[in-house]
Symmetry: C2
Subunit: 320 residues, 2 copies
Amino acid sequence: MSLKITGIGHYLPPKVETAKELSDKINKSENWIISRTGVKERRVSLIDVDLMAANAASVAIGGEGSPDLILNASGVGKQIIPDTSVFIQRELNMSGVPSFSIHATCLSFLVALKVANDFLSSGSYKRILIVSSDRGTVGRNFNEPESSSLLGDGAAAVIVENDPKDKSMLIDWRFETWPEGAEFTQVKGGGTNLHPDNPKTNSADNYFSMSGPRVYRMARKKVHSMIKDILASNNTSLDEVDMVVPHQASYFAVQAYASYGGFDESKVVNVIEEMGNCVAASLPLALAVSIEREKIKRGMKVLLVGTGAGLSNAAALIKY
Amino acid sequence: MSLKITGIGHYLPPKVETAKELSDKINKSENWIISRTGVKERRVSLIDVDLMAANAASVAIGGEGSPDLILNASGVGKQIIPDTSVFIQRELNMSGVPSFSIHATCLSFLVALKVANDFLSSGSYKRILIVSSDRGTVGRNFNEPESSSLLGDGAAAVIVENDPKDKSMLIDWRFETWPEGAEFTQVKGGGTNLHPDNPKTNSADNYFSMSGPRVYRMARKKVHSMIKDILASNNTSLDEVDMVVPHQASYFAVQAYASYGGFDESKVVNVIEEMGNCVAASLPLALAVSIEREKIKRGMKVLLVGTGAGLSNAAALIKY
């Protein structure tokens, strides 16, 4: 099915926080941070997720007209109600365009890509904006040094269209959820279970918590099987995949696509050292940067893949 | 495009709170509550949204096998991360089934219905569970008597499948968003803007706030135009619509489909007196109850329609 990324853009906040600057906040050394998470620096946003998203989206839209649908595909919203798509749309000055949010934590972008693909196929929409924007640094718990060393802020956006004359396409897609891992990656508060005013809610419940090793152990084999399956189903060998764009969960999770997954290391996009884990924005950020740096070119076969809180795993094989 | 609702179920918590019982909490009389909002009683859930959803979903699934996709289409989640679909899936014991959430506040169910329709059309999935579950009573601000008189708790679920031999279908769909109304219906807290620990966050920011009259004034004409458009595009007169299932925003909003919209009052499903506004669960609850009470029967043309925070408006014309 034809799916062409006709616009792409990203926004990285100007403020850089280095591992050295973070080290005082979490009582760990610069070396500890880099050796544990691989994150040398991350961006810290002083503007909220809707403005970050609009900045990335404006670049993706370029001089072309409004999209006919806006999909917010982020991890954490600006507020509980309305959903963040509305505020992004307000910044873009596109009143009347339908807007909603897809939430699959770090995999929101991959899920939105599939929803957009099927909307384009059915002819419901012609030009869809997908935007992921996360400000994970707001949710850092400095008493949990490992997860707070990982998170960074950023946003990325794509415009997707259906051009049957073009060879760009979503070749195939996989998605699965394993709630045995529901408690490995959490922000427990903010909803109906542990409302901010609930006496049972602790301050830590309102911050991000992740057991990286448990996620890694649970995900590694499952993601490997998923990759083998999507490639085999589409008669594609590892070598025929031109680039792998993983969710930037951690340095070791990204590296595992080479060390364990068998892809040549030069093909696995790794931006976590410079950006950290930007939640749902990580994957489209890695994609945007790879396209801008001309590592991904038209006609290439690209595997977008990752894990998210849930635990969910997803993969999309695209021809860019 | 074929879309058949092959299973439907709902869950209403056993605990009833009458207008009289509520009146003391908000310093208003029973009469004030009923004359302003039309809500004579609502349910108050002692279990959380995931369990409520699983109860409704179990009825919808019945003796049949697992769905191959779970779409959570609720207004407010159990917690910030992971998205609530994961917890619903955990309760349903369906490990491995892909699950994610769609958020368009009170219109989440109508958006999910369209996403499911296009997923079924493309052959990506065969049997999709859509479940909406909201526990609005947790978010009531008793200092805002009107909105806290409206909210109630409930959950509803459908199974949708594609049966090309069947005449059941999603005939057409409309959706639009007007962020000029973004501040008419809000829970401002819980996200990156007003994090629970942000000194700028007031307690009221963590509760539901709505200006019903402003929503009504902005929505009435727009929804009316949307209905005229979807019916005209499908050569359907008002009289040919067998039933109208509106989001149960308020008694007056529901009544407006007859008084202003021109539908015969007997065709407009009204359950708000007995359930209140159950956020995203309201519309599928009204649908489930109408089917169970045999007001909606196979072959009928049904208009699902409503407004949501955003402000968004949506309509789906289906052949049940």
